[in-house]
Every structure is written in C-alpha cells, then in structure tokens.
Symmetry: C2
Subunit: 210 residues, 2 copies
C-alpha cells in the first residue's frame, strides 16, 4: 500500500501526510463491477484511487442512468468528500469498471488535514476543480454534440481511462451509460466502423483512431 501510495501521490502529498495516510487509511481491493458508493449512501470517508477505474453515474427517479465521468488513479470522489464533511447523502453511484485498489480515508481526518497540510488543501480544491470541469464537459457533450459524436467521445475517453485500445463491452451497456437505446448505439457503431474509426467484435470494440 505504501509503495503505490508513494508511486502515485509522492508528488502530491508531503511525506508526513503520506505517513498519516498509511496509518489511518484502509486499503481495499474492488472486484470488477463492485459498487463502491450507491445512491443515497452517507459516506464515512473518502476513497483515494490507487489503481483501476471507477465509473460515476447519475440516476433519476425512474431508474434511468447517465454516465457523469470516470475516475482513474490519483483521483478521488469529490461527491463523497462533500457528503462525508456535511453528513449529507451522495447523489451518485460509483462502480469499479475493472479491478481497482483504493485507500479509504476516515472523515475525521479530512478537516484536520486541511489545517496541517497545504498539499491536502490543494488536493481537495484541485479535486473539486477537476470534477467541476468534467461535469462541464459532460454538459457540453449533452448540449452541443449529436449521438454519434458523443458515442465516439465515450469510446475514446473510456479507452484512455482503461488504458487499452479495445473495450470489452456490449452495445447495451453503452446505451445504458449514454441513456439511449441499444438499437441506436448499434447503428451508430456500425457507422463508425464504416468510417474506419473502430472495428466491431462480439463483446469487444477495437478503437482504430483516437
């Protein structure tokens, strides 16, 4: 745990803070598709992502979903932070897109560290900042792009987060993330394939052009 923490966070946190994190943080390994945070959960702390990829989705009353963004190593969940600090509920669901490793930080420390470590303050603000920008990108996609453009962005973004050029996924899964129907996705994928940007297989999409 210390090893990976130092690998990804030594340029972010002071040595003393890393020591404290090692002391109070709880290491956890997440299986693929394991739910880390669910709708309405009250957070008792926040997760630091060491390895893997986490999908953050929003769900409305009717159970319809839309992808907000992905987290990768070095990231934390800003929604959890707010929820942990204010004892409020979390309005999102976080699911491991692949096997992932996290460190869970207890909420008691969150404010304490704000006083002690400049690097922690910067990290928290930076995290919020990054998340706000991700949300703006999501809004941009929804407001300004058509389905085909959104789909292509989805594929390339996800490939980058997963650090692979092929995605193991079905058309239906993509449709859920993008809040549309499988038929629509299948047709647009076929179109992207004809344009030479991707290659389709069963349960797998190769991305040829980034």
């Amino acid at each position: 745990m210390r090893e990976k923490l130092e690998k990804y966070y030594s340029f972010v946190f002071e040595k003393e803070l890393i020591d404290e994190i090692v002391q109070v943080g709880v290491y956890k390994k997440l299986r693929e598709n394991e739910i880390l945070v669910d709708l309405g959960d009250k957070m008792k702390g926040i997760p630091l992502l060491l390895e893997g990829a986490i999908k953050i989705v929003r769900e409305d009353k009717n159970g319809e979903e839309i992808l907000l963004y992905f987290l990768e190593r070095g990231d934390t969940c800003a929604s959890s932070f707010a929820s942990a600090i204010s004892n409020g509920k979390c309005g999102i669901r976080a699911t491991a897109e692949k096997e992932s490793e996290i460190i869970f930080l207890p909420k008691e420390k969150l404010d304490e560290w704000m006083l002690k470590y400049k690097s922690w303050r910067t990290f928290v603000i930076e995290s919020y900042n990054i998340r706000l920008n991700e949300m703006m990108e999501t809004i941009d996609s929804l407001a300004f792009m058509n389905m085909s453009e959104r789909l292509y962005k989805y594929l390339t973004d996800k490939a980058q987060i997963m650090r692979e050029t092929s995605l193991n996924t079905t058309h239906q899964d993509i449709a859920y993330d993008m809040h549309t129907s499988r038929v629509v996705i299948s047709r647009l994928l076929k179109q992207l394939e004809n344009e030479g940007k991707i290659k389709l297989h069963r349960n797998k999409i190769e991305i040829l052009e980034f």
Copy 2:
C-alpha cells in the same frame, strides 16, 4: 457593505472573519447585464454575492451557449475559486441578470483563511458541493427531460432566483440559455399557456403555477 454582509453571512462566518472581509473586500455594484467573469479570464479573487442574481453560462468553440445555473445572495462562484487558487483560466461566463452587489475577495486571503477559520473551510466546501449538485441537476435536465419540461423548470427556477413571479425576457433570450431556437421556445410557451401554467405578454412571462 458591513450591514448586508452581516445580514446574509453572520450565520455563516465568524465575527472575526467578517471583520477581515470588510477590511480587504472590495465592494462592487453590477449593472444589469454587466459581465462579471468572461471566458478565459484569470481570476484575481472571488466574488461573494450580497444581492441580485448572476447567470453562469458555458460557451463552446462555435459561440453556442448553455445555461449552467444561477447564483443568488449568499453564493459564491466555485469556478472562480478554483481559477484563483490555481491561476488557471475560468471556463464560464458570469453575467448579472439584474442589478447586483458583490464583495470581491483577493485571492491571497483564500488559503490563509482556510487555516484561520473553520467557517471559511466549511463555506468553501459547501459552495463546491452546491455547485456540483447544480451541475448534476443541469445534467439531469439535459439527459432525462424533454424541451417542454426543461422550459418549465427554467421558468420556475429563474423566477425563484429573481424573486418575482413574472420574468422580463424574450423568447429569443430563453432560446439562447437553453441552446435551442426561438421557434421551438415560442411553440412550447404557447403550449404551457394553454395548459394554464403561464401567461404570455410581450417581453414578459407570468408564471401562474409553481
């Protein structure tokens, strides 16, 4: 300035912090439609809203706009905060929807106060939290609602922020905010009027049902 600050912020900030704000804050009055922050601006501080209403919009490369959310008294601009702290650029435009009053806080104090005042830390985190939730609501609207529902939500939200039951606006202005065309808005407004939810006048929309 101190008077309004105490009126709206005495339950948020400690007395000592309010004293400091009075000392270093710069009071400014904004005319209707005055631009407070523009795309790509680097912020030298953050605004605290004392009175009025500020519209925050996102703009893409082609100059197309979409409304993100409104700020009202007691709010601050989280995007500015991040921009000020990290010396980065601001990805939004903030415009006064009506005559407004703000206090501009210099960025040098932002981190200093994090150390000194618990209430400031809470305020900053809370502000980010509120903004994240607003963005999620915007995403919900875009992803899950049709134009008519979005329009009605726009009208009632804006009326609440403006603290009035009538909005002085044109169909074209609404179309800009919602990133659609005037024709679409006109038709949907007429429909809402037929449903008895609003009453249309030239340059004015009365909201009959909230």
